[in-house]
Symmetry: C2
Subunit: 473 residues, 2 copies
């Protein structure tokens, strides 16, 4: 069985090519074809499969598609992967019964071709080399106690690096002992409510629904603030003295896109100061601004009345689960107590590596590079829309990794249906609307993330989007 | 200011050596001396400090002690560290006010010399090279989608590797899609209660208090099971049909040390089967068994009625925050729902790296090596006790990273006080006793972890412990 590998393209060629041209994800088709060939013993146990790259070349597939298909079949027990000796059909040809059904249905449920979901950076842009180089330096140099039980605030190296970085890049004023490392924004909300802060909380009338759901699960009611071209209308809170906490995305309103106007930034801070309140600042994509200097964090205006939360989910990868809270001093102990000394927070290796990545300047270089890349993508999207569907005007394009396409009233559902048929995954504006929000000027629309597809797939995705939009005008 | 560094030993020598000989941690003394020298401008802004190793050599300190002191002072703003150009006194000689007070008190509160706490592996044994090599292979080879939003169950590579490893090393029978990656045991408990499982839960009458506290915070009552030399007396549950879930440490009762007897393993599974119940198996140190083959997991007896939880907290480091639940199929979806798709779980780089570490065999090699090391430590402890305090008999020494030293009735508090005076940190048995537990045969005792100190410090720690025990007899 150690001979040359079976030639997939030859063995499955005709059928497979035919299938790959049809509907459904190419990965799912490949998995199905391979599984069938193994089950029917067309590929008997021990058969050596070709490496990803040759299958990819033979069948005209992305290498990752083949890699994913192999991984799935390894997980299901059909294939065995062994370092150095490639991938083979499993010797016991009897796959794990449970795995097969579950994973098959998971695959079948994902006929996704064009990923235009908001909130995701380009996974292929993760700076693997820089990350590994930083990890090598950081892990080699770390003191032994780094691998001990650890500081519940997070590694001192990372908190020091963030203090300097956030001051420089985002205008955040803090010190390392007011930073608490967490897994990201959702984790921060769960830590803070209800143990540290109480509701009701004022939120923007358009926001990520799962933030509201986390608050609701903690028994915290939300009050929707109307939005206009200057951002959230915080003045509306004058008759709500019971609302002491406000949760905003001041640098780049999510999802509508504008920055909070300067006088409103001042107003929300003044209100917090006067009433002992707090602004929770969700700085989810503050690094990605295309028109001018980044809009600084509101936190810099008053570190004692703003709780700033950021993460690497947009700048590096959401899969790192690495974020930070910058807390007013009076809340630090309560937040640490609520978080728990042994509870989930980021692993020490990632913390040390990010600290080194920041200190070495590689983090800045990566952000500059991806900012340029996303800017080019944004420009291509804006230009394509102008040429092919000029009635669709993108909004909120000065920053971030997404844009909002306003649609004629009543057409959002039809546009989403058409997108789904075209294999495009994205969300409509309705998905972000607070249940108490009046249906405002931005009532119908699509939220288009332009960062997620790999470079090779991006133009095709925009093309499919334009075709779809033209069909529902 | 780019000249040679200030010679610390010369400048601070006499005072410092004097102080270092006195009470309190050496790190705290060094920090205090350095801070004083900077504050009084004896070391003016820009002064270059010598590298760790030369300070360590000059002053007779561990290199990590010096590194920690530098890191603390960087955090406080007294020093600046810059890659490649060493550590200097900060240019703006005005340190961060908040940092100073907080960190100073944190340092003052830690005059720890001998760390004999249970539950901690030797932080200096973390396999940095093997980890970095695995990280390089894993991160280089990972498909792009690894850096996308991710699978809430955790990376498929890790779940596949764990399926194979847990079967081989612990007798666990599962498939990758019944594994959910989490941050460790505490995280698993928080995910499971109250969303997936209901109380009351039967627990061992000696256990980690924070497990009980997590359950209590979730509104879950616990019922204490008495312990004898065969482990938890599960038969006592016959008159408690309301208790359907049992939480045990079957491989190595924590903290008393014995394995659960075979007939009791069978009984707890039979009970779960008969009543639709569940055993939660906390396999916290199953890899470390010294007398014979590891005691296999109870999960292997009935994967549908045992929920198995493990982690790398003992085998690699608690700072990785990396663990796994092996779930009965019927609970998988509920656990994933409770965990949340965006909530804290381990970062993808650690997941991929651990998968590669396991697949390559380096994880097994590391465990074999540390097992030998801990076994030697255990032997040294047992022998020292026999020679110097023969009336103190260690229990539960066939496995794990700790032992229990039974003490004459009524002497635990005095022993703990004496240990604190001798600079030894450890816990008494009372800290692990369930409030409803009858005070049994093991009423007074110390729980001695023998893994935490670095190799160089271990013999001194055992020596101090023996001296302390001799003084309280």
């Amino acid at each position: 069985m150690d001979g040359p590998w079976v030639n997939l393209a030859e063995q499955l060629g005709a059928d497979l090519h035919l299938d790959l041209a049809g509907p459904g994800s190419r990965r799912a088709v490949l998995i199905r074809a391979l599984r069938e060939a193994i089950r029917t013993q067309r590929f008997p146990p021990g058969t050596k499969l070709p490496p990803y790259r040759s299958v990819a070349a033979d069948l005209g597939l992305a290498r990752n598609t083949v890699a994913d298909a192999y991984a799935e079949l390894v997980a299901e027990g059909w294939l065995m992967a062994k370092q150095g000796s490639g991938t083979r059909v499993a010797e016991r040809a009897e796959p794990l019964a449970i795995a097969t059904t579950t994973l098959t249905s998971a695959v079948a449920a994902r006929p996704l071709i064009h990923d235009l979901r908001q909130g995701l950076p380009d996974a292929s842009a993760f700076p693997r080399s820089a990350w590994l180089a930083a990890a090598r330096r950081a892990i080699t140099q770390a003191p032994n106690e780094a691998f001990g039980p650890g500081d519940p605030r997070g590694r001192i190296e990372l908190r020091v690096a963030l203090t300097e970085y956030l001051a420089r890049a985002r205008g955040v004023r803090t010190s390392p002992d007011r930073i608490v490392i967490c897994s990201g924004f959702a984790h921060a909300l769960r830590v803070l409510f209800p143990a540290v802060l109480r509701g009701p909380v004022a939120v923007e009338s358009y926001q990520l629904a799962f933030h509201r759901l986390i608050l609701a699960a903690a028994g915290v009611a939300t009050v929707a603030l109307p939005l206009d071209e200057e951002g959230a209308q915080v003045a509306g809170l004058t008759d709500r003295p019971d609302v002491s906490t406000v949760l905003l995305t001041p640098a780049h309103q999510f999802p509508l896109g504008g920055p909070l106007a300067a006088h409103r930034r001042a107003a929300v801070v003044d209100r917090a100061r006067a009433g002992g309140g707090l602004l929770i600042e969700d700085d989810y994509d503050g690094e990605f601004r295309y028109d001018r200097q980044p809009v600084g964090a509101v936190q810099g205006l008053d570190p004692d009345h703003v709780l700033y939360i950021g993460s690497v989910s947009k700048s590096l990868s959401p899969a790192l689960r690495l974020g930070w809270m910058v807390l007013p001093e009076r809340l630090v102990d309560a937040a640490l107590g609520a978080k728990g000394q042994r509870e989930a927070w980021a692993g020490v290796t990632d913390q040390l590596t990010l600290a080194e990545l920041i200190t070495s300047g590689d983090y800045d270089r990566h952000i500059r590079r991806t900012r340029q890349r996303y800017r080019r993508r944004r420009d291509h999207l804006v230009q394509s829309l102008a040429e092919r569907v000029p009635h669709v005007v993108p909004a909120g394009i000065a920053a971030g990794l997404h844009t909002v396409l306003r649609l004629p009233a009543g057409t959002e559902d039809a546009a989403l249906d058409a997108a789904t048929r075209a294999g495009i995954e994205l969300d409509g504006l309705a998905a972000f609307r607070h249940p108490d929000a009046g249906v405002g000027p931005a009532a119908d629309g699509l939220v288009v993330g332009y960062a997620a597809p790999p470079d090779l797939g991006y133009r095709g995705a925009v093309d499919a989007l334009c075709t779809t939009l033209a069909s529902v005008r």
